[in-house]
Amino acid sequence: MSILETRGVTKRFGGLSAVDNVTIQIPEGSIYAIIGPNGAGKTTLYNCITGFYPSDEGDMLFQGKSLVGLSPDRITKKGISRTYQNIRLFPAMTAIENILVGAHPRLKSNWLDAILHTPRQRAEEKEALKKAQELLDFVGLKGKGDLFARNLPYGAQRRLEMARALANDPKIILLDEPTAGMNPNESVVMMRFIENLRDELGITILLIEHDMKVVMGISEFIYVLDFGQLIAKGTPGEIQKNPQVIESYLGRGAAGSA
């Protein structure tokens, strides 16, 4: 059964359909990828799913329930996390605080607990801090907890963003170009890391990626977007052979970089 599903989602900006009648299905526990040239509408689709943009048409289902009309915080609380193409951490908060903010939906204490410093609140804080430390270790940032997010190196910021996205125990995580700006070695490390997320934590992964080695290396199934429309779908092997994809995406991409 698919954990996340879109049915004919459409998003228009003025006359331009950034996302045009897109239907995708992500089965639970899988690693799926969305590829497409720049401006194909991949990130816009993410923004529709996570509630940043209201979609104009179609339906989006998470575990069988519609996400349409929900605000981003409600959608996150259901168990959908995401990262951003251009890293968006809270720059003037420490690494550990960033993760703790990510854990927000998981925590229960309210303002009254906070003001009165109730035992319940203290216990919860202690537990949350412990879990945040574990996540920090998990993404390889041990000992960097008290540094400001903005003072971390680029790669570390990417991983911190991922730790933050993991902090609320998501069921699915939407990654937006997780290996952007990384060299081949780092990309391989990131690939292993993403596979680990699925294998160890059982989190379903959907990723947008430009690096074909990464896409073909880890994804089980690929959707291809171009001009907002779904032009192809299939396993990595099928996509590599699909003439339409080669023409509209790989071909053009190769021409552009030559």
Binding site: P72, R88, H104, W111, E125, N151, G155, G181
Partner: protein
């Protein structure tokens, strides 16, 4: 050489113009009086103390002279040249002004019509009560001699490394003190922190006993501003919502206290303590009410709307329409004080204790809030509202809560303020209150509790100490704010977080984005 003279003259010109302004505003008169009192010289004129004026001019020229050598302090000749050029220019400018003013005065031209501070008396004060020629010569002499002296002093200070020597001595003393047995025993003691807190508490507890009635009152006012500062700190510092109508909640707290405890205009006459709680609740509720319409506004728009809200409340309590319920321009009188454990609280001293209790509770609460899920949600919202929402934070709810929490503290401050003064009226709730509270945050250091306390002392306490300067408070305010923003944008005692924010770029000079690559790479 040419450059030195040019530089020196430019500095002289700047100082000269500033001093002219000081004179024309009449600030010299008050400052001279303070200085005169300080050195215990009786004033002979009615408008000011000439000896104080001489000292004031001397200090100014010393300062200007010492600044003149900043280009090259280690070379005697250049120090002398720039010192002479600076002091010559200042001396010429100021003497010329005094000559002009004195001459105009002697031929009976009334300058008061244009410059309110320049009447016959203050002109004779500027001449030290002497003849025109003598006065001008003395002025020239003071500026010239002390300017050069200042330059030479700073040359001496620099070449003899006086500053470094003093610093070195201080370090040696500090090391010695830390090495001493007593200090070691104290610092290494596991309860050292608590002993420190205990001592601080004792000082706080005893201070009101030794202050007179007037000072207890003045410190009470400072305390109420500390309360409001702590509250606004949550709204502006933590949640990043610029609220310029903060006085509205102060007014609501004050009027709740006033209206519900007095026989007129509403005959309820409830007790102090339940009304204190009600004041806080009403203010918090008003915070939510204000919050709802402005929820989707950010930055400047929010500031303008809240500014308007503050004014609406003030106009409302002043208006004739509401006069039967709120007392109109006369306000609410005869607010009765509380009693605690059978003791009636009515003296300035006991109110100060009450306010201190309020502050301590507020500090405790804000500290807890800041380091909780709620505080983190506020900070995240301030950093990036969109992403904060994507983290599962209900930004609408947390914004309202920030407004309500900040307003609650202002309501507490207002209630205490009204009860202590036994009166509250529209004049207590002007826009100036909001500006004062925001300024004390900026001056003291946003997001820092000690900063808020220091800020309140600087902006509300100092004017009480320098009562004579009352007239120029706004001038000093403005100057201080501009100066702070340039020299110390993080405030006098900033939160460590904020200091790092503002000075992060000064570290290695490389923005983090360029420091690519993780460790495994």
């Amino acid at each position: 050489m040419k450059d030195l003279i040019k530089q020196g003259s430019r500095l002289g010109l700047i100082f000269g113009v500033v001093i002219i302004f000081l004179i024309l505003f009449g600030l010299t008169t008050t400052l001279s009086d303070i200085l005169g009192e300080f050195v215990n010289i009786e004033s002979r004129t009615r408008t000011g103390n000439p000896a104080g004026l001489m000292i004031f001019f001397a200090i100014l020229s010393l300062w200007a002279g010492s600044k003149s050598t900043s280009a090259d302090r280690s070379n005697f000749k250049s120090a002398l040249i720039s010192g002479v050029s600076v002091s010559l220019i200042i001396a010429l400018i100021i003497s010329a002004l005094i000559l002009l003013v004195g001459y105009l005065d002697s031929i009976d031209v009334s300058m008061r019509d244009y410059l309110a501070q320049l009447d016959h008396l203050s002109v004779s004060f500027l001449l030290y009560g002497r003849e025109l020629a003598a006065g001008v010569l003395i002025t020239f002499g003071i500026f010239f001699v002390f300017g050069i002296l200042g330059a030479l002093l700073s040359y001496w200070y620099e070449t003899k490394k006086v500053g470094e020597a003093i610093q070195k001595q201080a370090f040696i003393l500090k090391d010695k003190a830390l090495d001493s047995k007593l200090a070691k025993r104290y610092i290494e003691h596991p309860r050292a922190k608590w002993i420190g807190y205990g001592l601080l508490g004792l000082v706080i507890l005893l201070t009101p006993q030794f202050l007179g009635k007037y000072w207890n009152y003045a410190m009470g006012t400072v305390g109420i501003y500390v309360l409001m500062g702590l509250g606004l700190n949550i709204v502006v510092g933590l949640a990043g919502l610029l609220d310029l109508g903060y006085v509205a909640f102060f007014a609501i707290g004050a009027y709740t206290m006033g209206l519900l405890t007095t026989p007129a205009p509403i005959a309820l006459q409830l007790g102090f303590w339940p009304v204190l709680i009600l004041s806080i609740v009403f203010a918090a509720f008003a915070g939510i009410l204000l919050g709802i319409p402005v929820l989707r506004m950010r930055g400047d728009y929010l500031a303008i709307v809240t500014l308007g809200f503050g004014e609406i409340i003030r106009v409302l309590i002043r208006s004739d329409m509401m006069a039967p319920y709120l007392g109109g321009p006369q306000g609410v009188r005869d607010i009765a004080g509380p009693s605690l454990f059978g003791l009636s609280i009515s003296s300035e001293k006991s109110y100060l204790y009450l306010i201190i209790m309020g502050i301590l509770l507020t500090i405790l609460f804000t500290n807890y809030l800041q380091n909780s899920r709620v505080g983190r949600a506020w900070m995240a919202m301030r950093e990036d509202e969109t992403v904060a929402q994507a983290m599962g934070i209900n930004t609408l709810y947390y914004k309202l809560m920030a407004f309500a929490t900040g307003a609650a503290f202002a309501g507490l401050g207002g209630a205490l303020f009204a009860a202590r003064n036994q009166y509250t009226g529209p004049a207590d709730h002007t826009l100036m209150v909001s500006i004062n509270v925001l300024s004390l945050l900026i001056v003291g250091g946003m997001g820092s509790v000690p900063g808020v306390i220091i800020g309140a002392f600087v902006l509300k306490g100092l004017p009480e100490i320098l009562r004579e300067l009352e007239l120029y408070r706004l001038l000093v305010f403005g100057g201080l704010l501009v100066y702070m923003m340039i020299i110390r944008p993080e405030g006098i005692w900033p939160a460590p977080r904020r200091m790092m924010e503002l000075h992060a770029d000064e570290g290695d000079g490389i923005p983090p984005e360029e420091g690519l690559v993780g460790e495994e790479g």
